[in-house]
């Protein structure tokens, strides 16, 4: 396969920058020491399809282990997808190799979560930010120096510090350096993988504002991966919610936060604490029982049925729901959503529904005992 083969029309819609088509990433579980053989697979990402439009921010939210980071890495081909296609401006990245892939990577960059781990502590700031330029052979030595100064200025770091090492900077400043590195090769598309979770509260807002400013100035497209639903709402144009390797709901920001249809999205949004005691008194959180099942052994049918208060036996636990367009631009994967009608999950009413076991816990069936359930109910009714 060469790059020429991969050039195809851009999905019919001119405004689509990235198309993810039935993407799956399975990590093998092996056994044996000398003769390793595969005994199973962790289905980290299990059949994702979505598009990212040019100039937008698509938020990707979900709890830990739901496969959101793996999705980001698989799009950039940092992890090779098991199956599926990733089209970037019509070119299928999954089949690109070597130089052809590297040339495409100039258009796509990544901002990592942990600014302490993602900067090489033995390199100076100038080397870190200038390295992508070197890899892509973009400028000569003095040109790189100038470009690095300019980039540092852009992200709010004093350009005179370019001979310093990462340990001389605070977490927020390091994240700025990581952002400058991502911007160095003038990409169109940036995958932001939890860019603010490792930062202090008062620093987070600075970095979010910087990312938004850069998007305006350079016309960037973001895939913004995060677990913090309030932050994703603030920054995203559209939002996709993931659960156990699959997208359960995808919609415009205001729609998803205003009228979430999938039971998981409803529960997730109601569980976010609000920094206001008054609002907290009136907030009715749907407290989901049990834990997220293991992606090595996902439950049959809908992945969420083991924790879903609205689960219908004989249907949800057998058939896997497809992600379908339930209203224009609003996608959801739930059997119980029909023609825009959907199950309303209310707190206190269903939240003590049967708890299913987590295979992560050695297969034990985790049913909350009656005693504990009653106590939990008391706790909620106050």
């Amino acid at each position: 396969m060469n790059a020429v083969d991969a050039v195809r029309p851009a999905d019919g819609r001119g405004d689509t920058l990235v198309t993810v088509d039935d993407l799956a990433v399975h990590f093998p579980i092996t056994s044996g020491i000398v003769f390793r053989h595969k005994i199973g697979a962790v289905r980290a990402v299990d059949g994702l399809s979505f598009t990212v439009k040019r100039g937008e921010t698509l938020g990707l939210v979900g709890e830990s282990g739901c496969g959101k980071s793996t999705t980001g890495r698989a799009i950039l081909q940092l992890i090779r997808p098991t199956t599926g296609r990733v089209l970037y401006e019509g070119a299928d990245l999954a089949h690109l190799r070597g130089g052809a892939l590297r040339r495409q990577r100039r258009r796509m960059q990544m901002i990592f979560q942990d600014p302490y781990a993602s900067l090489n502590s033995r390199m100076t700031v100038a080397d870190i930010v200038g390295e992508p330029l070197l890899v892509h052979r973009m400028l000569d030595r003095s040109g790189r120096r100038d470009r690095v100064r300019e980039l540092l200025q852009t992200v709010g770091i004093n350009p005179n510090t370019l001979n310093r090492y990462p340990h001389e900077f605070s977490g927020g400043q390091r994240q700025r350096i990581g952002i400058a590195r991502a911007l160095a090769v003038e990409p169109n598309f940036i995958v932001c993988d939890e860019p603010i979770s490792a930062l202090d509260v008062s620093i987070r807002a600075q970095i979010i504002n910087l990312l938004q400013e850069l998007q305006r100035d350079f016309g960037l497209t973001y895939l913004f991966i995060a677990h913090d639903l309030s932050v994703v709402r603030h920054i995203s144009d559209r939002v996709a919610v993931m659960y156990l390797g699959r997208i359960v709901e995808l919609a415009e920001n205001a729609v998803l936060y205003g009228e979430p249809m999938h039971p998981y999205t409803q529960a997730l949004l109601s569980a976010v604490p609000i920094p206001d005691p008054e609002a907290e008194e009136h907030r009715r959180a749907v407290v989901l029982q049990g834990d997220v099942p293991s992606p090595a052994d996902p439950p049959p049918g809908c992945h969420f049925h083991t924790r879903c208060p609205a689960m219908q036996e004989g249907h949800c636990d057998l058939e896997s729901p497809a992600l379908k367009e339930v209203r224009p631009g609003h996608f959801a994967a739930c059997h119980l959503i029909n023609a825009g009608d959907y199950p309303r999950i209310r707190a206190g009413e269903n939240d003590l529904a049967v708890v299913a076991g987590s295979p992560a816990e050695g297969g034990a069936v985790a049913a909350v005992s009656d005693v504990a359930s009653e106590e939990l109910e008391m706790g909620s009714s106050e």
Binding site: E63, I208, V231, H234, Y257, I274, P277, E280, A285, S380
Partner: protein, 349 residues
């Protein structure tokens, strides 16, 4: 340098009996870069059964305060501790280690942030749970196991009698945090220190754990100090809030008025910089510019002055003490009246 002056108790009315009374606590660490003032003249009190939130960013001294309350700072060779920590009318800092041991784990228990690293992986849950029960309550092993199973059921561990034989790795993160809560409550503590109890957990699991902690603290009549950077966590759980910045308490007060009308510019900035699900989206977040100060080179005046929009010459020269600003409220700001006036204008508007 005396900072807080004479400690004025919070005018709460009901807090006549105090469980914990911290007066002028300072913890300093000797380091290569100089003395690190981790906790700087901190005073506060906790009433029996009270839920208190201790809020601040990393390095503000909130965890070191908890370490000092547990009497663990005495284990640290480079730490210098001064002040008083009166727990049930005995100064823990003055007690010999043998006496503190009778308090630590029994009267004062701790829930740590990371349930993965804070449970010993080579010990079974039975061993982890009964160790404290046998030591502090003097029960036989059989009775201790029975009590442990009872506690595990209380925190919602299914099939507790079987699962007590398991090891920590056989539990998920949320379940491990439940085990930790069971261990902490197993000896009927009067005070529970919860250091970022839900930070390592997912949002749906966080909701479960917060609800459990609140309900159990009431059942066991235990006071809880919730230490966190997440304003949302304490808003739903705590009646009274303490805000720390650079080793000092900068604001204290009952949760509702404090969240609605903060009397310290740092609290104002902190609340504004967090996007909220219950508010309309804004184009830009109001961020606090700059960085927290280096604890080994604190500015001579107010440590928030370099980042504060209200700062004047006065703020750069002397550190403000905690002034009483209302019913049970204190603020360490020279310009607190400006914030109080702003709040009053907002109420009338």
């Amino acid at each position: 340098m005396m900072l807080a002056g004479v400690y004025t108790p919070p005018a709460m009315g009901v807090t006549t009996s105090r469980l914990l009374d911290i007066t002028d606590l300072s913890v300093e660490f000797a380091s290569m870069e100089g003395t690190v003032h981790a906790v700087d003249h901190v005073s506060f009190a906790v009433a029996p059964g009270e839920l208190v939130g201790l809020v601040g960013e990393s390095g503000c001294g909130k965890s070191v305060t908890a370490t000092a309350i547990l009497g663990l700072t005495r284990m640290l060779a480079n730490a210098t501790v001064s002040g008083r920590i009166d727990f049930q009318d005995r100064d823990l800092l003055a007690l010999p280690e043998s006496e503190v041991r009778k308090v630590r784990g029994k009267e004062i228990a701790m829930i740590f942030q990371d349930p993965v690293t804070s449970l010993n992986p080579v010990l079974s849950i039975e061993r982890l749970m009964t160790e404290g029960i046998e030591l502090h309550l003097g029960l036989s092993h059989e009775d201790a196991v029975a009590r442990a199973i009872d506690m595990l059921q209380k925190v919602g561990i299914p099939k507790a009698a079987e699962r007590i034989k398991d090891y920590p790795h056989q539990f998920s993160g949320g379940m491990r945090q439940r085990v930790m809560i069971a261990i902490a409550l197993s000896c009927n503590p009067k005070l529970l220190l919860a250091d970022e109890p839900t930070t390592a957990l997912d949002v749906t699991i966080q909701a479960q754990i917060l609800r459990l902690m609140k309900q159990l603290s009431r059942e066991y009549d235990a006071a809880v100090i919730v230490i966190t950077h997440d304003l949302g966590v304490v808003a739903g759980m705590c009646r009274r809030i303490l805000v720390m910045y650079a080793g000092r308490i900068v604001e204290e007060g009952p949760a509702k008025p404090l969240f609605h009308h903060p009397h310290h510019p740092y609290t104002v900035g902190l609340l504004k910089s967090v996007p909220r699900l219950d508010r309309p989206r804004s184009d830009e977040l109001e961020s606090i510019e700059g960085l927290p100060p280096d604890l080994s080179h604190l500015p001579p005046g107010c440590s928030f002055a370099p980042r504060c929009w209200l700062a004047t010459d006065e703020c750069w020269q002397t550190p403000p003490k905690l002034f009483v600003t209302g019913d049970g409220r204190r603020s360490a700001c020279f310009h607190r009246d400006k914030l109080i006036d702003l709040a009053a204008a907002e109420v009338t508007a």
